[in-house]
């Protein structure tokens, strides 16, 4: 199958992943567009026989990280990410958690980036721990500990039983 055709087949999943990262739908599609352009430009770097999906997820994620860092340098601040640190033992957070019950998007928004990307890869996209570690280029122990923290926060906000 042609490179472009394989990419087209990947697009629905890639959009989902990007939506999980960027949250806003049009930001997510901008991210997908940048990832596709990058992939077309550097298609020589993709090794035939290796998984195109992992390669695309890595490109997408790296572009997103670059963008987040650039936004950080520009002083664009995401207050939601700071909210996570207040979770444990905070009465206000308990109230907020009650209000968020069932709001998956809202709960995901409260995860720090590095936890959210792992939750997306493993719990939504269905990658194995090792595959996620390769996509993110981090040790597998980092994956499991971030995943555990992300899960804990999500369960806190979403409630015990879905």
């Amino acid at each position: 199958m042609r490179f472009e055709e394989e990419l087209v087949e990947l697009l629905p999943r890639l959009r989902r992943f990007a939506r999980g990262l960027a949250r806003d739908a049009s930001d997510a599609d901008d991210l997908c567009q940048a990832a596709i352009e990058r992939a077309l430009k550097s298609r020589d770097q993709w090794q035939q026989g290796t998984r195109l999906d992992s390669w695309m997820y890595r490109i997408t994620r790296n572009l997103w990280i670059d963008e987040r860092r650039a936004a950080g340098r520009r002083g664009v601040h995401s207050p939601i990410d700071d909210a996570v640190t207040q979770v444990a033992g905070d009465g206000a957070a308990e109230v907020e958690a009650g209000a968020l019950r069932g709001d998956v998007g809202g709960a995901m928004a409260r995860l720090p980036d590095e936890q959210r990307e792992i939750v997306m890869l493993i719990l939504v996209e269905g990658y194995a721990y090792r595959e996620a570690a390769e996509i993110l280029d981090v040790p597998i122990g980092t994956v499991t500990s971030r995943l555990a923290r992300g899960r804990e926060t999500l369960m806190f906000y979403l409630g015990e039983a879905a």
Binding site: E4, E5, L7, V8, L11, P12, R13, R15, R16, R19, G20, D29, C32, Q33, I36, E37, L40, K41, V104, G105, V119, I122, L123, V124, A128, Y129, T144, L147, A148, R151, L154, M155, L158, E160, A161, A162
Partner: protein
């Protein structure tokens, strides 16, 4: 509960070897706390899956799909484009004319035109935003596959103006340089991207451009020189 939380999570994620997984399954039959923990993890996965699944069912936006669409799109030389134009003209000529009769091809405001890319000036359509930038700076001989606006041919029209045909997601057409802006002389709904309509649109533009040319279209060098000179028309 005899298993640590990370192991329970790994079990639900399918990360344990068969032997350990079976041990957990057996233990959960008699350990209510363990069973509840497994249910909790499965519920979270299900909730996340349910939340994100609809995104996969959404139609993929054309702006993403078109980046990967069939057909020549990267660094096509102007000679190739001209050859394509000629062949399209001959084979699609009648189809294009028929399609244009249906579509109508006049100047005016069209609902499909992306608002940011077009302005009006005393009733004339003027390129703005990314379209104006592409017409001003982008070279047909050197445009990336992902460029939102694709430049076709560049040429001098009979009035001595530089004109360029273009295709973009919302709008196809021909822009001619007047003063410091690009006046849109021909416009067609872009986007279509597929099948007969798209071909009719390309054929139509090629035919319109051919009819407007004073002499042959600019080659890659001529295009670059004209751009570098700011598209100032020669007397």
């Amino acid at each position: 509960m005899s298993f640590d939380p990370e192991m329970v999570a790994a079990f639900v994620d399918g990360e344990l070897d068969d032997l350990t997984a079976r041990r957990i399954e057996r233990a959960a039959e008699t350990d209510a706390a363990l069973a509840a923990e497994i249910v909790r993890h499965r519920a979270l996965r299900a909730q996340l899956a349910e939340h994100y699944a609809p995104i996969c069912d959404e139609p993929v936006p054309e702006r993403l799909r078109s980046l990967l669409a069939d057909g020549p799109k990267l660094d096509t030389s102007l000679a190739d484009r001209r050859a394509a134009r000629r062949s399209r003209f001959s084979t699609l000529h009648w189809g294009a004319i028929a399609a244009s009769l249906v579509l109508g091809l006049t100047i005016g405001l069209r609902p499909w035109i992306p608002a940011g890319d077009v302005q009006t000036d005393n009733g004339a359509l003027i390129a703005a935003g990314s379209l104006a930038r592409a017409l001003e700076t982008q070279l047909a001989s050197n445009q990336s596959a992902g460029a939102a606006v694709r430049i076709g041919v560049s040429f001098e029209d009979k009035a001595g103006r530089y004109c360029r045909s273009f295709e973009s997601p919302g709008l196809d057409g021909i822009g001619c340089r007047e003063g410091d802006h690009w006046r849109l002389e021909r416009t067609l709904a872009g986007e279509g991207g597929s099948g007969d309509y798209r071909q009719a649109s390309s054929g139509e533009l090629a035919a319109a451009a051919a009819a407007m040319m004073r002499r042959d279209a600019l080659d890659a060098r001529g295009e670059r020189a004209a751009r570098d000179a700011g598209w100032m028309s020669r007397p």
